[in-house]
């Protein structure tokens, strides 16, 4: 037997039962493993099929739980078929299922049957970011006061520390409008938006919040999240958007709970 790429304990060869299962669980074209039987010593296709079904159904269920809006938009049949392709191509590599599905949006973007919904992958990205924010570390969010206490001449060199839950998503489509119209139970009317949209995901107190933000504020927070100083991030936004309202943008981002601290001269100033 070939040693596993993970390397087994010294001198021990892997028993084949797990390899036999693993190679067949996600491939319905293969027969049951050779080392399993039913109660009479016969074949166990249907019985092995229970495990195969459990794996497939539970992983489709995991994706459905992470991407409920995507499911609502596509309908359950379409979603299940799409999810089945994805779990066979990209099964989970972590036992933490809430980490699954980070590749699902990229899969949707190239999924042939979803071509008529070019915005669907961006909606899925918002959903994945929502779950990232849900499980992100607890940190108190930055309030206005620490920022107000910074001397005016030091503001330009101030850096902002993004809250662990904060995610920024851009879309060439009105992904936020489509997401928010479908992320609830009420009937969905026609969505009139056509513009590209930026979406900010935060968890300011207890619950995850998803909001649309303006392109200029998005450009600034993208710079801030990348570690740029306020001077540089605001300067780039101002250079692109002549009517950029810097104080309003900062107040909006702080109110959204996008940050958990600031640093001046490299020293972090906690809330």
């Amino acid at each position: 037997m070939q040693p596993s790429s993970l390397g087994f304990a010294a001198g021990r060869e892997a028993a084949p039962y797990a390899a036999h299962f693993a190679g067949r669980l996600l491939d319905p074209g293969k027969p049951a493993p050779p080392d399993v039987t039913d109660t009479g010593g016969g074949g166990a296709e249907r019985r092995f099929g229970i495990y195969r079904n459990n794996v497939t159904v539970s992983l489709i269920g995991a994706l459905a739980a992470i991407f409920p809006t995507t499911l609502r938009i596509t309908g359950p049949e379409f979603f299940r078929a799409m999810a089945r392709f994805h779990i066979r191509a990209t099964p989970p590599t972590s036992p933490l299922l809430f980490e699954y599905g980070h590749d699902f949006a990229a899969f949707i973007a190239q999924y042939q049957h979803a071509r008529s919904m070019p915005w669907l992958a961006d909606v899925a990205r918002i959903e994945r970011a929502w779950l990232d924010a849900y499980h992100a570390a607890d940190e108190a969010v930055l309030a206005m006061e620490p920022l107000a206490a910074v001397a005016p001449e030091a503001l330009g060199a101030t850096r902002f520390i993004a809250h662990p839950a904060t995610r920024l998503l851009s879309s060439s489509y009105p992904a936020f409008s489509i997401f928010s119209a479908n992320r609830q139970d009420a009937p969905v009317g026609p969505i009139m938006a056509t513009e590209p949209e930026w979406t900010l995901v935060t968890r300011p107190v207890f619950d995850v919040e998803v909001r649309r933000i303006s392109p200029d504020a998005a450009m600034m927070i993208e710079g801030l999240m990348a570690g740029d100083t306020l001077g540089r991030a605001a300067g780039e936004a101002l250079a692109t958007f002549a009517d950029f309202d810097l104080p309003a943008a900062i107040a909006g981002l702080i109110e959204a709970g996008a940050f958990c601290g600031i640093s001046t001269n490299g020293a972090r100033d906690e809330t």
Binding site: A18, F21, T39, I50, L96, P204
Partner: protein, 305 residues
């Protein structure tokens, strides 16, 4: 946000040491939290799947912390894959240890099963053959888990749908030997006993007669679904999506007569009912437990006389 938010973070908490012996409990589902808090503190415990609380923070930890203030909890691992041939995932084991330190559970358990092979996580409890080789590596895995977390784990018997040609030991003998070698305790899932016995055409009563009941520290009760194989033979599926079946209740009473009261979980974690329905199911288990406690008292009094 309140300035003292960090002060109520988990590091400052030390939870009460609530007893769990002889109590009936339920799976903890977040949608039930408001109803649980509204009813006020009652007898009972809650069991959670360890992996659902391995995120860094957020609402799951807030909900479990709140429950843990008022109740004992049981942490039930689903993904350690101790029944697999490959080494345990050290990173995952470290997360498991941290979770146990954080929530101070009354019970910690895992499955005689595997769920990861090489790098793929299958999200199912998959079976293994019972022989000298698998006994050796599963025992090593249990040793490693218990050494890492610094306490005993309870090992749960699986539900089976097929058998391995390479098995040379009965499941009961395999489990007894694992417990002898590692000092682990046992979680007896009576629904799994019934499901396996039906699927493999063996006797649940024979299984229980041969099973080391003296090592059981927790019992699982659950509902199952019904299918059939290609020969038309009845197959029961361990689905956890409905009330406990009559046959499982009967087996439970049989076990309770022999063991006396043991912490018992109603494991209903799929197609989850409302809180009232779940509490009724737990109350039915509690009634059987309390009957056993009365019998125990009488026995003790007789012994004293």
């Amino acid at each position: 946000m309140e300035p003292n938010n960090h002060a109520i973070g988990h590091r400052a908490l030390r939870f009460p040491d609530y007893p769990i012996d002889g109590m009936a409990g339920t799976s903890f589902k977040h949608e039930h939290l408001p109803a649980i808090l509204q009813q006020g503190r009652r007898q009972g415990f809650f069991e959670v799947h360890a992996e659902n609380y391995m995120g860094d923070g957020g609402p799951p930890h807030r909900a479990l912390s709140r429950i843990r203030e008022d109740y004992p909890v049981s942490i039930h691992g689903v993904c350690l894959s101790i029944g697999g041939p490959q080494p345990l995932d050290r990173q995952h084991l470290t997360r498991f240890k941290a979770l146990i330190e954080r929530y101070e559970p009354a019970l910690v358990s895992e499955h005689l099963a595997w769920s990861t092979h090489e790098t793929t996580y299958f999200n199912d409890l998959l079976p293994l053959p019972y022989n000298a080789d698998t006994l050796q590596h599963v025992a090593e895995h249990i040793d490693e888990v218990q050494e890492t977390i610094g306490r005993q784990i309870l090992l749960e018997n699986p539900s089976s749908y097929l058998t391995f040609t390479e098995s040379t030991m009965a499941e009961t003998a395999f489990i007894r030997e694992l417990a002898r070698r590692t000092g682990c305790g046992l979680l007896l899932d009576i629904n799994n006993v019934f499901v396996s016995a039906t699927n493999l055409k063996t006797s649940a009563l024979d299984y229980l007669a041969d099973y080391p009941l003296d090592l059981v520290r927790e019992i699982h009760l659950a509902g199952h679904a019904t299918q059939s194989d290609e020969n038309g033979e009845l197959l029961l599926i361990d689905s956890h999506d409905g009330p406990v079946g009559d046959a499982v209740w009967k087996l439970y009473e049989t076990v309770m007569v022999r063991t006396g009261p043991i912490a018992t979980l109603v494991e209903w974690d799929s197609a989850i009912p409302d809180w009232l329905t779940l509490t009724r199911e737990a109350a039915a288990a509690q009634a059987i437990l309390d009957r056993g406690a009365v019998t125990d008292d009488r026995g003790a009094r007789h012994a004293a006389v």
